[in-house]
Symmetry: D2
Subunit: 137 residues, 4 copies
């Protein structure tokens, strides 16, 4: 973990008051944590725009009774094999699965993987979380 | 304008360094302005969730050769007459207009107005900016 | 306006039923208009990623009593003069103005303009609507 | 799986042409799948606004050397025990972990859980995927 530095911020009194109320509702222990989160979220967005090494979390919901679909998803994952770190399978009900795939790679590669998985017939919901390797944060 | 207060923030050294680079690229004069903008954007989101008095900016792109469309948009605006502050019309090319409507009201009212305008046949693009009256910011 | 074509879509019965309810609540006259809007919104996103000619709508809220601020905003707009089509000024209350600037240019230029305006000290809220010239829509 | 129905959509010829190009780049096998995905994404948004039963995927990145942090995250998860279905832990590098928590509950409960986890000191990145149980999709 990097060394902490302290710096001063000037803000309108009533804006600060409103912010303090908001972060209390969201259970933040300190202003520094809340402001740090806003800053880090901006930096992670930036990482994805710069196409550098990122971590992506792909969430898919589908009906697992479709065998061809499951095979298709496995095929795509094997094709991206060195990029995929892990995959988790959750049984939502008798029909529906939630599959969560964690991938590490350049931003455009991970987006391409997400497109390939989302577009498989039978996938009802797909979402790519543009996350981070944690480096420089 | 409300009185300025000054407070301290603790952040990891390398996160601060990355943030300083980002805000320089975005032309921010100071960290306080950049952090204040992140905070105010969160507060404005909150205003819309709380359904209080807000300002909305509705942008529409459409083909103005469709007379019925123009009349329909005017009718909707008259229906919401006390909520609509102003409206601006920009000629993008021979066919296309951009119309920008500014409305003030409770969040749900302004969203309903945006839905009514967006859904008019011939409107090719519609967007509601969830802005603010500026109060408490 | 381009010629209309008709094509068939296959969808699960209950998904269609839910969608029909949603678009009725949003006042859509037909499924075709609602589906067309979803499609066009995707295409406009794509236009911004491809950095082609776009229309941007920049909304700013600020306190107009700050003379330096107003001058600064005018300076930036003059600097981008050939890109800016129009600008509208709305008095929200005794203190606050909403200024809406319409710009046409390549996506990266319009984003740079939005950054320059948003970062001016005293601007409390800024938002760039990533809109379209209407071409190919 | 629900029965398929077929219906007709009318769209401008050049909009359809652009859309066909976009979905080919995203590897969609058919227009029906691509349009279905746009529709289902809208319905899932709606499910979260209506505060009904949803599935949430919470992704967190943190430094696992902070023992108090790990304990804190476990405590929060136990507190929400009946809502949490599973949790997966990925080692990103020597310092950083990615933890993915799957929760099922009413929208506001899952958002509260996400707030509680995100606000823990030492969490560098947090994101809530507003996903679905798959019902009615």
């Amino acid at each position: 973990m990097s060394q902490l530095v302290r710096f001063g911020v000037a803000l309108e009194k009533n804006v600060l008051k409103e912010f303090d109320q908001l972060i209390r509702r969201r259970h933040y222990p300190t202003r520094s944590k809340a402001i740090g989160d806003l800053i880090r979220a901006e930096l992670v967005n930036q990482q994805w725009e710069s196409d550098i090494l990122v971590t992506g979390v792909i969430a898919l919901v589908y009906d697992h009774h479709r065998r061809d679909l499951v095979n298709h998803l496995v095929d795509v994952q094997h094709q991206f094999h060195p990029r995929i770190i892990s995959s988790q399978h959750v049984h939502l009900d008798h029909h529906h699965c939630l599959e969560i795939i964690v991938a590490k790679g350049r931003a455009r590669e991970v987006e391409e993987l997400a497109n390939l998985l989302q577009s498989v017939k039978g996938v009802k919901f797909g979402y790519l979380v543009r996350a981070t390797t944690g480096k420089q944060l």
